[in-house]
């Protein structure tokens, strides 16, 4: 087991663990911190790959990921959280232990589902694809099972981070322009959502289930 393989796997695992922590913790602040740590781990994955393949462009992508996903987006979300200090995901639609068990099952499902990709790519990078896929699935589940608007945004970002992880692992570096585009897209999306969130909070909706009342 080479050091590179170990380090890469550890970084990828941290991305998945970050998604699990989002399900695990109630405090919105902790959730945002987990997202930031996940961003760092994602950047680290890209950086390790760049270092391993001596790919300068990929290194630039890693820096970009670090800036956007570990600093800017969590920063924006942290400001939303700061507006309501001590805000918590008090009564999720699926309770925390059950959510964690579901996350475990999703991880196992990802492990099975990623078989073809693993076989196709192979090597120390390709075999980590299940972890990225698991992150995507857990992100979706966060959107399904959590009430807070902020949690929904975080769920979306988890999906995005998971896809990014898979992309890094499969292609050893997305073309920088694609990564730039997608990062900016996400950033733009988060800004819009942040504004929307602020409006929703101002209007007294922080639990998205309450939006059902608009139906009548």
């Amino acid at each position: 087991m080479t050091t590179f393989a170990n380090a890469l796997a550890s970084a990828a695992v941290v991305v998945t663990v970050g998604a699990v922590v989002v399900l695990w913790r109630h405090r919105l602040r902790s959730i945002v911190v987990a997202l930031a740590v996940q961003g760092v781990a994602l950047a680290l994955t890209a950086g390790l790959l760049a270092g391993h393949e001596h790919d300068r462009v990929l290194f630039a992508v890693a820096l970009l990921v670090l800036a956007v996903k570990a600093v800017v987006i969590p920063g924006l979300l942290a400001r939303v959280v700061a507006a309501t200090p001590g805000a918590r995901e008090t009564d999720p639609l699926v309770n925390v232990p059950a959510s964690l068990v579901v996350a475990g099952l999703l991880t196992l499902a990802a492990f099975i589902a990623a078989r073809p990709i693993v076989a196709l790519v192979g090597g120390p990078t390709g075999r980590l694809v299940p972890l990225g896929l698991a992150t995507v699935l857990i992100g979706f589940f966060v959107m399904v099972a959590r009430r807070r608007a902020l949690s929904q945004v975080v769920g979306l970002l988890l999906v995005d981070n998971g896809i990014a992880l898979v992309a890094f692992l499969v292609t050893s570096g997305v073309p920088v322009i694609v990564e730039l585009g997608s990062s900016l897209d996400v950033l733009f999306g988060v800004v819009v959502l942040r504004v929307l969130l602020a409006r929703l909070t101002a209007a007294g909706f922080s639990d998205l289930d309450q939006l059902r009342s608009l139906h009548d």
Binding site: N95, P97, A98, L108, F111, I112, R115
Partner: protein, 665 residues
């Protein structure tokens, strides 16, 4: 053939001896049955010792096909286990007859039940197997319905049991008959030879039919609903046999299916493993939350059979990738089956003794029996520690072997098998934890602490025979636990009938060594070490200071400063399980009913608070009840067809005749 025909003949004789006068009936039948069990034990020991199957055939007994006997080491292991459990149950019965099970029908049914249980694993062809299987099912049905006149629950139990067992038997018959139709004769050996040429889809369908049929007998969820009813309502010696011998034959059936059809594709075993996991978790969860001692034991049986099927599934899944681990899983599974038979029969017989002494099986009404019934309680404590898989008892060895087979099978597993194995380990672990809760509750609430009712307070130790019965099975739990060598040799031979690849497992006197697969455990060394340490510490405790020397003073326990404490202040089985019930609220969906009536003068004064909580079986409530309701609705609708008018019935016949004529022409 001759020893087994002697066995069968004596069995029938025992059933007829039930017609003897009441005063001597049970003693007479029990004496003959002990001979029957001894023959069963000797024959199966000989098969296991020589490693040669006992074969035989006679055309005189059954028409057309005759009777074919083929007692392989695999079958011999089941027969031997049954013989041992049946011996304990028969001895227990000698005392228990004063409480129940002394009527002609029950005595005779018990004799037939024991005989058929001993003979089913010896059946060498389809017809013999099915006939014996039916005798077993019907005789046990009579025993389950034993209290039908006095208790509505017993009637209900008999209905459920009858329906499930006949449904299962129908599926088994279907599967075996289809298999037999393609073979040159109905013997299992020629079926096994011809079944390999069947198309895949047909084999899969047969596998599913047989698996479901046998799983219903083994009490796997969701076909378990009969089990907590039947095991709880049957008299104790019969419950011990239901749980210690009959459910085993469901497992025997699944192993037999594997020998007939071959290991087959992985998905068969994934299906089996799924139901194993569900049964293990569901059974242990309900065992942990039950308050009726016998229901608790019954759910635990469902849980243990789940673990057994997990082991079978692992064996099937590893077959291609890791044959040694596959064989190890099968050995572990068979070890678990025998271990379960021993400890569960101990517990059921013990529960019968409690019922005999107190007329009570609700844990919330028991307590303090360790002082009034010391011998019974020691046997039950040993059984409970064994089922909780604590070393150095046989339950621990069995569970350790199962985990080892999973750990090693993971070595060369593809992702699907890896995932299944991981789920198995997690399920095994949670089941183990819940089982500990269940049995600490059963023993701690039922046998320790203070008596919670008059009956428990005035319980007397049961007659000698009722102490000997559970005593011998409990001792066997200890002996097989600390010195697994002899048992393991037999089990390895039995397992080799199905999975010939050597597992590498060897047993010394003291423990297990996995050979090429790395791993070993020495229960005997652990036990000796712990016992030595216990004695040493006890000696130290005794030797402290002259004034305090070993004088033990009794005090009222702490009651938060109140001096009056009563037995009702203790935790009950319900309150003991309450935290778990809350944790698994979504799964169990218990029904609570809180009724507060206020005083007329002011709402601030409460006159009476009534709290009721029902924790009935959620599968029964959510799955069976709606189906039964639907069936009933159809039945009511269909009543219009038969309104009693002769003209209408004649019209039906006329229409059918016309249609038949048209179709035939």
């Amino acid at each position: 053939m001759s020893p087994l025909s002697l066995l069968a003949g004596l069995g029938v004789l025992a059933a007829l001896a039930a017609l003897a006068p009441r005063s001597r009936r049970v003693q007479l039948v029990a004496a003959i049955l002990v001979a029957v069990e001894a023959i069963g034990a000797v024959v199966s020991i000989r098969v296991l010792a020589t490693d040669h199957a006992l074969m035989g055939r006679t055309t005189s007994l059954l028409p057309i096909t005759g009777v074919r006997i083929d007692l392989t080491p695999l079958g011999a292991l089941f027969t031997l286990t049954t013989a041992f459990v049946a011996l304990a149950a028969t001895i227990h019965w000698l005392g228990y007859r004063r409480h129940a099970m002394s009527s002609v029908s029950a005595t005779s049914a018990f004799a037939l039940f024991v005989t058929s249980l001993l003979l089913v694993p010896a059946a060498g062809d389809i017809v013999t197997f099915l006939v014996l299987w039916e005798v077993m099912a019907l005789s046990s049905l009579v025993l389950v319905a034993h209290d039908h006149a006095s208790r509505d629950e017993a009637r209900q139990a008999a209905w459920w049991y009858g329906a499930m067992t006949q449904g299962g038997a129908a599926l088994i018959t279907l599967g075996l008959v289809v298999l037999g139709a393609h073979a040159k004769d109905p013997s299992f050996s020629s079926i096994a030879a011809s079944a390999r040429h069947l198309p895949g889809a047909a084999r899969a369908a047969i596998f599913l039919a047989l698996f479901v049929g046998f799983a219903a007998k083994a009490g796997l969820v969701p076909a378990h609903v009969w089990l907590p009813r039947a095991h709880a309502e049957a008299p104790a010696p019969a419950s011990a046999l239901l749980s210690g011998a009959m459910v085993n034959l469901g497992i025997y059936g699944i192993v037999l299916t594997r020998t007939l059809l071959g290991v087959g594709p992985a998905w068969w075993w994934l299906v089996a493993g799924f139901f194993g996991v569900i049964s293990a978790l569901y059974g242990s969860l309900y065992a942990a939350t039950s308050t009726d001692l016998k229901r608790l034991l019954a759910y635990s049986t469902s849980d243990n059979m789940g673990l057994v099927v997990i082991g079978l599934s692992a064996s099937g899944l590893f077959y291609a990738s890791h044959p040694a681990a596959s064989s190890l899983a099968l050995v572990a599974t068979l070890f678990l089956v025998t271990a379960h038979a021993l400890y569960k029969s101990t517990l059921f017989l013990g529960a019968g003794s409690v019922q005999y002494a107190t007329h009570e099986r609700n844990l919330d009404q028991l307590g303090g029996l360790a002082r009034t019934m010391p011998a019974t309680s020691v046997a039950v404590v040993i059984g409970a520690l064994a089922v909780a898989a604590l070393p150095p008892l046989n339950g621990f060895s069995a569970e350790w072997l199962v985990v080892q087979s999973l750990v090693h099978g993971l070595a060369s597993a593809d992702p699907v098998t890896t995932v299944a194995t991981t789920v198995f380990v997690a399920a095994l672990a949670l089941t183990g934890g819940l089982t500990i809760v269940a049995f600490v509750k059963a023993v701690g609430i039922g046998f320790f602490g203070r008596a919670r009712s008059e009956q428990a307070e005035h319980a007397r130790e049961v007659p000698v025979s009722m102490r000997v019965g559970p005593g011998i099975t409990a001792s066997a739990c200890v002996v097989v636990g600390v010195a697994p060598g002899l048992a393991l040799t037999a089990i390895t031979r039995a397992s080799a009938v199905v999975a010939p690849h050597p597992s590498g497992l060897t047993a010394t006197l003291a423990g297990f060594h996995l050979g090429a697969l790395r791993g070993a455990v020495d229960p005997l060394a652990l036990a000796l070490g712990a016992v030595a340490a216990t004695l040493l510490v006890a000696a130290l405790r005794r030797s402290r200071g002259p004034r305090t020397a070993a004088k033990l003073r009794s005090f009222e326990p702490w009651g938060s400063g109140r001096t009056v404490t009563s037995a009702r202040m203790q935790y009950t089985a319900t309150s003991f399980a309450e935290p778990l019930q809350r944790v698994f609220d979504d799964v169990l969906a218990p029904q609570h009913d809180l009724d507060v009536s206020h005083a007329v003068e002011s709402r601030y004064y409460v006159e009476r608070v009534a709290y009721a909580s029902a924790n009935d079986d959620v599968v029964e409530r959510r799955l069976y009840r709606p189906v039964l309701a639907l069936a009933r609705w159809w039945g009511l609708r269909a009543r219009g067809i038969a309104n009693g008018s002769v003209h209408r019935y004649l019209a039906y016949g006329f229409v059918v005749l016309v249609v038949a004529l048209v179709v035939v022409s």
